[in-house]
Amino acid sequence: MSEPRLVEVRRNVLKQNDVIARALREQFRAAGVFVVSLVSSPGSGKTTFLEKTLTQLQPRYRVAALVGDLATENDAVRLARSKAPVKQITTGTLCHLEAAMVQSALQEWDLHQLDFLFIENVGNLVCPSSYDLGENLRLVLMSVTEGEDKPLKYPTIFNSADVAVVTKNELANAVEFDWNAARTSIQSVRPGMQIFRLSAKTGEGMDEYLNFLSQKLAEQRAVAQVLSPSVRQVQ
């Protein structure tokens, strides 16, 4: 038998996911919908935070949410209280969402009827970091009860996110949360990342974050307008 030969193939393992994610992003842009994905550890308050986000954006915007969960539909039931359209993606044993799941969940929805779409990933700070879902903004959530060094323990996911939200601020004093230490850890793994500190429960700090989202939606639409000024009229 001869010597083994090395054949260069250079193939991105997640190519299939990336191709679908790119198509989704293009679809979102064309429809004028701004898509935010949420990642966090289990129990950080993602669902409460999302419920408040949906409720407070609703008077001004058309909003909807996709929720990834391992086995239950509890989150979707809770989010349905906001009266926004909510769809559950039950992942079974899979610890993260993939672009294909988002694509298939969105099939029956007319994205042109939406301003904001939120995608709540499975509670997990490891696996979701590898998968692009076509989102415009990835938001990483951490609560004050989790400790200031969470970003240092999960640098990859914090590094892959665009914005950090520190929640459950109403408990900050009780758990002696060190805000400066938290900010330092976040900036260490993701320099320049914008951070919002808020309490979904009391509403403190929510306005600043919601205004930021409004601004992002306006920016995206301004860019879409410049790129293809006639798109909206044609449709």
Binding site: P4, L6, V7, E8, V13, C127, S130
Partner: protein, 129 residues
């Protein structure tokens, strides 16, 4: 733990490439960036499972781990990060998010048995992404 599904994607990709070329694969070379979100040991463990009952059964996974390389705007140079917990230039301390390497999750090459390569082998230049 998403390494098993990653391992299965690696096996799928390698099987497809080997069938296209009509070769038998003895090893798969993978480039794995420190920011890929994939753990090498978990991947090696999963690879064996993922290979079962496929043409790659018995093959080896060889992982080349790549550190994060960033560009420092201050030094105007590419620098290797000492740690993924600290995104700043190791020389001058300037924070940077200009990542030039580290997100790779790529089947880079296949080790194949030369004598099993068939006549109509695909030219390297024809190989597309």
């Amino acid at each position: 733990m998403h390494e098993l599904s990653i391992a299965m994607s690696i096996v799928d990709a390698a099987v497809e490439e080997s069938q296209r070329r009509g070769v038998q694969v003895s090893a798969v070379h993978l480039r794995l960036g420190a920011l890929s979100g994939v753990v090498k040991d978990a991947l090696l463990f999963s690879y064996e499972v993922a290979c079962q009952d496929t043409p790659l059964e018995g093959s080896q996974l060889i992982v080349e781990e790549l550190p994060v390389i960033v560009f420092c705007a201050q030094c105007q140079k590419e620098r290797v990060l000492q740690s993924v917990q600290l995104f700043q230039c190791p020389e001058c301390g300037t924070p940077t998010m200009d990542v030039r390497q580290g997100k790779e999750l790529e089947v880079f090459a296949l080790e194949v048995q030369e004598d099993e390569v068939q006549e109509h082998k695909v030219q390297e230049s024809e190989v597309k992404e």
